[in-house]
Symmetry: D2
Subunit: 432 residues, 4 copies
């Protein structure tokens, strides 16, 4: 089995390598190709060296390749993993700061920040799809690159390859539930409904018994069930009991945007935005990675917000390879799964995973009407954002930002769009 990892120089790669090593018995990975671009050459070399030490120490038979030639890596691959970041953390920091100028949420994947990231990312991913169609037509694209839902939708509509979008949030939710209850992960099932970074856990099962309502009470009195990159503000108990489901952490941006904005503005003034914090964490991580005595994934990586990333990735590949037909929550073409969203939209729902890919399961309980409405308006934004990103369509871009619930007015949309296009010019060939 050959795996191409695009964005191989990422600080997350040791996480992924650990996953390959742990699961080698059931997922016989033989070749891993770490690919990066010229600007990432040094990081690739550091990460690649660490990966080699990890493989050696574990005593497993994986051939590790490092390359700047993406086509060489993709050729004949079984899986292509995309974990790239166009424009690196500097671009992310801009994504976070531009919206703050106009009193809007500035976040990596949500709102105008996520929109900017999508404009930069989608053309690169579609290029990769083109390479895959040519060089590895049977390969499956596993996209981890954010905004994962939007990128997956672009691939569904324009990529022409088999693809699944993956996020660590669903498995993180299950992990948190298991931890909260003090039970093993394998005893917990969930039904998750929505789109990437905008979903609700509508059912929680313990050993097959539905404990949603009891768990919800408990959840409201607990802390710490939010990804590390989102401020952990308290949920409104009445609202959650009304909708009868557990919102993913990102829903704070929609339910309490004013408080979240205040947090972001405070952080921007003091500690720096999330990207600016992560830059320091990354620098420290790479210092660790350079240690020739390090041959395992360092603990510090877990603070990075991508916890369970390798767990999610390797489980998915394992289920595809071994045709296990188990249920995982991933991003796929909607079809009739959520009938209130377009059929060709990407959704993040429970799927049966097998050799053939991911088959979405219809939800077994209705979603709250307010959740449905929120999904619909954000999906309208996403459809427009995909058109803007693929075709460099300025009109679609303006329409996208205008309809986004976190952009207050068409005037703000125009200001945001102006700054985003200006400050990302180098990365937006489609708008030239």
């Amino acid at each position: 089995m050959k795996i191409a990892v695009i964005g191989g120089g990422s600080s997350y790669t040791p996480e992924l390598m650990e996953g390959f090593i742990y699961h080698i018995a059931t997922l016989p990975v033989r070749e891993v190709w770490l690919v990066d671009i010229e600007a990432g050459r040094e990081k690739l070399s550091v990460v690649g060296a660490l990966a080699k030490r990890m493989i050696e120490k574990a005593g497993v038979q994986i051939d590790l390749h490092q390359t700047l030639d993406r086509r060489e890596a993709i050729e004949g691959a079984d899986f292509v993993l995309t974990q790239l970041r166009v424009g690196l953390l500097d671009a992310r920091a801009r994504d976070e700061r531009i919206p703050l100028r106009y009193h809007c949420i500035g976040q990596e994947t949500t709102g105008a920040g996520g929109f900017a990231k999508a404009l930069r990312t989608v053309p690169v991913i579609l290029d990769i799809c083109q390479d895959m169609r040519e060089l590895a037509p049977k390969a499956m694209l596993l996209n981890f690159t954010n905004p994962a839902g939007l990128v997956t939708e672009a691939v569904i509509k324009y990529g022409g390859v088999k693809a699944i979008g993956l996020c660590n949030l669903p498995i993180g939710m299950r992990m948190n539930i298991a931890n909260t209850l003090g039970v093993g992960l394998e005893r917990i099932d969930t039904e998750m409904v929505g789109i990437n970074h905008l979903n609700w856990t509508t059912r929680v099962f313990l050993d097959g018994d539905d404990i949603t309502s009891e768990f919800l009470d408990r959840y409201l009195s607990e802390q710490g069930m939010t990804p590390a990159n989102i401020p952990d503000l308290q949920w409104d108990a009445e609202l959650l009991q009304t909708i009868g489901a557990i919102p993913c952490g990102y829903l704070r941006y929609y339910y309490m945007p004013d408080e979240m904005l205040a947090e972001e503005q405070e952080a921007a003034r003091t500690t720096g935005t999330r990207a600016e914090v992560v830059k320091k964490v990354e620098a420290e991580l790479f210092d660790l990675y350079r240690d020739p005595n390090l041959a395992i994934k360092p603990k510090q990586l877990e603070q990075r917000g991508g916890a369970y990333y390798s767990e999610a990735a390797v489980r998915l590949m394992d289920s595809i390879y071994n045709n296990t037909k188990d249920i995982q929550t991933v991003n796929v073409r909607n079809g009739k799964t959520l009938p209130y969203l377009p059929e060709d939209a990407s959704v993040e729902v429970n799927c049966v995973i097998g050799r053939d890919g991911a088959i979405p399961l219809p939800p077994t309980v209705p979603l709250a009407a307010s959740s449905r409405g929120l999904l619909q308006v954000v999906k309208a934004y996403e459809s427009l954002a995909v058109e803007a990103a693929v075709h460099g369509d300025r009109a679609a871009a303006l329409e996208a930002l205008t309809v986004h619930p976190l952009v207050p007015s068409v005037a703000a949309a125009k200001q945001l769009l102006h700054d985003i296009l200006a400050e990302n010019e180098a990365y937006l060939p489609q708008f030239r």
Copy 2:
């Protein structure tokens, strides 16, 4: 033909009477019953006397009745018109001022203000439906009471009577287009898509030829195409060209809420809110109405925001009575008309009008994705608001306000809900 006018003491009644008088040849109205409640007794008597003078002067044969007994008026009626205002203008002024406290749009039909109005109005309308089922099972309810879309949806879902919701905005749009082009109304057709007070004119026809795009350019350079009750702020030309359709005036609340809020706050501080202004207009109108020499509709009524109200009402009744099968834009059950909205939702679309009621026509051009998303999220609010209003369901009420695009957060939703329930207690039996 017997017509019951619920809220007969309204200052709009002379408008309606004028319509009956002008169209008596094709719409042979024989009995008009003006109904009001005890609190409206004096206004009813003033308006009733004027209506009688109008009939006399016109020399038409219409029996005019005034009554406080609604059942007597409804019994055997062919049409029941609802133009009532629960809580009168004082309640409307509160609807406008409560949201301003929390920096939200305060408007009669849009946002939290419209929500409060719906809570007060829906139970009364459903009582009227019960009377109709009992006393006039073949009658058609023509609802003019705001928020007309929401009230119509409540009737569709819970009323059990034939009903059409009517607003003067669609005919006003056509009138404005005709005036802008300097042609007669009969030469203009439009395709309107959306829900009440949230719709777009997606096509404009002159003598059957599609002139949408030329007209849009012209529209952007003209003023004065907005109902009198909405500040006439300039549209964003780029946005309108992008969506390729003419938004109804109320869409300013969604596209430029900050500027609209500023206008409202300024008005509240200076001239008073719209309800407070209207109170003075109404007082002046009633002074005119009391003049025993007045036997026609006074010109001043047209400043009231309800221009073309009688035109819309009488045309609708005429087409039903005479089975004309012409096309008018009214509020009806969606069915499959707008497939992105629930089937049992009310929508405001072009309909074929005949004896049997209104049959909605499918749109012939797609709606912009951003418009669709906006409709979906506001319709999610409306569905929840209907449940809240019908069942006195506080949870649904909170969910409704939370998902409304003009309510920024769940915290604001809770504050708004608290104040609305407290300050309307006398009118909300369903919440006791």
Copy 3:
């Protein structure tokens, strides 16, 4: 206004000319181009001469052209009418006789006969569409050629032109209802639901009042409401009362195929099949047409089965030209009109007719479940037949015939297909 009539040498042309002449005041036809192929040269010349005499006698200003050059006729046309018959009546006689060999209904438009006709006709119609796209891109195709539903569906899917499919059956049904009740046509409205030659009149209105159930009782006791080309067997009263709707005459082939087959077999043995009868009628008609003193449509034409054909055609053109927005029953793309049929299928339903074409109206009462099932299975046949006819796809052809309710088995389907392909070889370039 320029009109191209493809198949201009048809015996129906005088009917059409009469329509143009009668309606010249509202439908100002200026040029009529009668087109035919080499094999129809003589008929074209006879019919053309008669048409000229009719124009002259009526004293109207219509320029009549006869041509064998289709492109010349289509260039710049406003309407293109197709009333052609590929293979002439000889081919139709084969369509009727082949099925009888295998104890199947042999009919011009229904069952295997209609299938054969579709195979011959669709390629010619799509050629005409290609000419239209090139030479008259704004023209509207009005297709009268049978099987009209199937041909219209081929145009919808592959034609790339504006098109409406027209049949005289719907107006004939209304005429018959009016005659039965002894009232004028303008007092009768109907709701018709289904596909061409397979539809039900689900509602009958007299002066806007629904009289469906009373009329149905009366209908069951009357004779003579069936097109001339279908044996007038008695309906089963219990079935009709159960479905609560009036079936079109062709439904006899589905409700009582054994009796209909017996009639056909008897006719084939004695008087000849319908085509063979019509050949004699046509010969007589052309003898009349040749009479240089004849300058009106001869009465005998009405026995031909196409009664009201010109009425239907001219009304449709009039409504389009004058943008009347009245309701007519025509064949159009389904969309969401009948949600139990595919969106891109052709359906025959009530439509609002205007400059822009025909907008289908959603039915206001549900169709009987058995009717729905029948429509679905016949539409499955039609979709496959369209693929077979367009692409010369033998597999689709076999699947089409196999699923047709009037073909009893796959074995019969194969025999039918063999004979149809063999005996129509000259007309089936797509299968070579």
Copy 4:
């Protein structure tokens, strides 16, 4: 775990007991209640005694109860299994012989025979549902009673209990595929699409690889893949290659009804109908069962047509009890699974089975258009048959038979309906 088996005196019960015994380790059955009616007292006592001997011999701890009191058996049950036969084999023989009188297919579950069986069975099943709602509200109904699709649809619409309809045909298909390929069952996956006794295996997987097209070729050259109760006539190779899927054996009634009818008529004249044959088999089986030395399921039972019945039943219970989330093909409410069928219809499709019941999976490849059309028309029949069976609605019954593809005309439908109602009078309280 308590299991109530309604129709416990059936000759199939030893098959079921064997399943319980073999799977006791994972499916800890503690109480089995065999229920029958007075007329089945003797059979119940014979079967019950054998079941006890089987339990004893196996040395497992299952308490076996025999009772004529259904309510006692249902009270507190975890699973209620229905395998009853209203009117016994005599009624089935009539179901098979009545249609033959009118040259129609006479079959236990398909066509008019299945319709008669549904009329007798549905009221009894709905009575059982009422007992369940009262006495075992958390129990799951597993219905094996034919016509299983129709009965399941009646339960979905009117039963108010959790229910899954089960047939041994899907597992039989997989077993046959595995046997044909000479591999273990666990290496074969299938995608089955359709409704009970009318479905297609659209995909065949070996070790996760799609081998559908290769297998289809092989299938066409093999014999013996048809249930024992259906004549094993040769399929048409061209048709199967066209639709690209493997039809279930019952589709012979639709693809080659004439040959199947000939077979049935021949059998009726010589060996007797299937029911008449089965009566002898049953008599022989019960003779074996009476042998006090017999303590295992006798081999002869497998000739009965219900092969793999216990396998299917026990696997299903096991997956529910152990929440395994594996995929089985069962009968459930459609929802959006097959969008061309009504949402509240029963369909037989791949489902994920767990504690919560069965969640249907959307098909991953499209069904042939002819298969879709056939499903739609037969489902229209089924919906009407359910209404007829539940409400004793003669009009729905006539409509049901009329639309059935195997009933040639409304005249035949009326004759069939007359005889069915007359000869089943004792079992049709709903029609009195």
